[in-house]
């Protein structure tokens, strides 16, 4: 596709392309679903995408930034800049409704409640993504990635991952 001038792309168009950029570690959700794309600015000279990393040490951060750039380059957008934005810090509250549903269908329990201090430190009932009961127990507060904890269902006995509320 031939490169076009940046102004010809609307913010909505850019966002719809970004909805195809997956999280490399949980490919069922996109960077839009996760609420990582904070702002899309279309100017005369290019497009600036503001991205919030999820965790400080998340090894996927650089991959995600590269994937965003590559995706927009491939769509013919010129002058793409991906800007890392720390403030306000990313929170699971920004995961969209559709993102939460996708996580659930994939077998990962989405974060419960909002990410205040209280919820992080409190005990919240986590629903099993398989059978829907809230009779579940924590196996480990840590899992395969920094953002998840390991749970098991006390009813259907399936183990599952929970996306931690942060």
């Amino acid at each position: 596709m031939a490169a076009t001038t940046p102004k010809t792309h609307s913010e909505a168009q850019i966002r719809s392309w970004l909805a195809d950029v997956p999280d490399p570690e949980i490919p069922v959700v996109s960077v839009i679903d996760l609420g990582m794309v904070r702002k899309v600015t279309v100017t005369d000279v290019g497009v600036v995408v503001d991205v919030s990393p999820t965790y400080s040490g998340c090894p996927a951060t650089e991959v995600i930034e590269d994937s965003i750039k590559t995706k927009l380059d491939n769509e013919g957008v010129v002058g793409v800049t991906v800007k890392r934005v720390l403030s306000p810090p990313w929170t699971t509250d920004w995961i969209t409704e559709s993102g939460r549903n996708k996580l659930l269908e994939y077998g990962i329990a989405p974060p419960v409640g909002s990410a205040g201090k209280r919820e992080l430190l409190g005990k919240t009932a986590i629903r099993c993504p398989q059978c829907g009961t809230d009779q579940t127990s924590v196996i480990s507060e840590f899992g395969s990635t920094a953002c998840k904890a390991s749970y098991k269902c006390d009813e259907c006995l399936e183990p599952f991952e929970y996306f931690k509320c942060i």
Binding site: Y55, G57, L86, S140, K164
Partner: protein
């Protein structure tokens, strides 16, 4: 000579990076050596958080210094005497009680420090602190629970955990010693007030130790010097291992 406020900010941010990196390195040493699977993952995750924080601090320090030094150069191309982390952090992992006691004593400090820094007048530092504080809150809760389990566990685990706290206690004075850099941060950047952090730390630490049935060690002589680059004998081997690849193959990239 009086230090400029810009110089103080640079050195303060660099110290934060050193603390985060050295603790990350210590926790990374536990990968494949954790006492159980959950702790294996916990420590790997925590190490990753600390490493991420170190990267943010070092990148910012490089910009403040303005000489084009990258985060890797701060981590891998400085000598022992140029690292300004606390002595507490570089202490060896020892047994699991030692590792946990070290984390609890440090995180009770670091959490208060980061919370105060979210209010500082340097917006970039405040942003990094706001990002990091959420992670450290999780670490502190997890590590404190472990100290309680060990201290209030069997007679043997109690004895060992008490010994761990006793052994590390002499390195806690340095957390609040403060110097010109801390003063400038407090006065010119609305940074942390170490007296207040100290009283918060004492309260929080006494509370966790009490729950863990561990006695608070008596006042004693306190070690000092990490922030000026005078380290304990454990630090040399740590950075030798950490820096091996860059020292052997300078400029190596993945």
């Amino acid at each position: 000579m009086v230090m400029s406020k810009e110089e103080a900010l640079y050195r303060y941010v660099l110290r934060l990076g050193d603390n985060a990196l050295v603790l990350a390195q210590r926790l990374i040493e536990l990968v494949a050596h954790g006492p159980e699977l959950e702790e294996e993952m916990a420590n790997a995750n925590f190490a990753l958080d600390y490493l991420g924080q170190a990267r943010m601090f070092y990148s910012y320090a490089g910009e403040l210094e303005g000489k084009g030094r990258s985060e890797d150069e701060f981590a891998f191309m400085r000598g022992e005497r140029e690292f300004a982390n606390f002595l507490l952090i570089e202490q060896p992992n020892g047994h699991f009680g030692d590792t946990i006691a070290r984390s609890v004593l440090f995180e009770n400090f670091y959490l208060s420090q980061l919370e105060a820094l979210t209010q500082c007048s340097d917006s970039r530092l405040a942003e990094i602190a706001a990002r990091s504080v959420k992670e450290i809150r999780y670490h502190q809760r997890h590590d404190s629970q472990w100290l309680v389990r060990l201290g209030d566990g069997t007679a043997e685990s109690h004895e060992l955990a008490q010994q761990s706290v006793n052994n590390l206690w002499r390195y806690t004075g340095e957390l609040f010693a403060g110097d010109e850099i801390d003063d400038i941060l407090r006065d010119k950047y609305n940074g942390p007030d170490l007296d207040r952090i100290k009283s918060d730390w004492q309260l929080q630490t006494a509370k966790t130790l009490k729950e863990a049935t561990i006695a608070v060690p008596e006042d004693q002589w306190m070690d000092n010097g990490g922030r000026d680059g005078r380290h304990t004998e454990h630090f040399g081997p740590l950075i030798a291992e950490m820096q091996y690849m860059q020292r052997s193959y300078p400029g190596l990239t993945w």
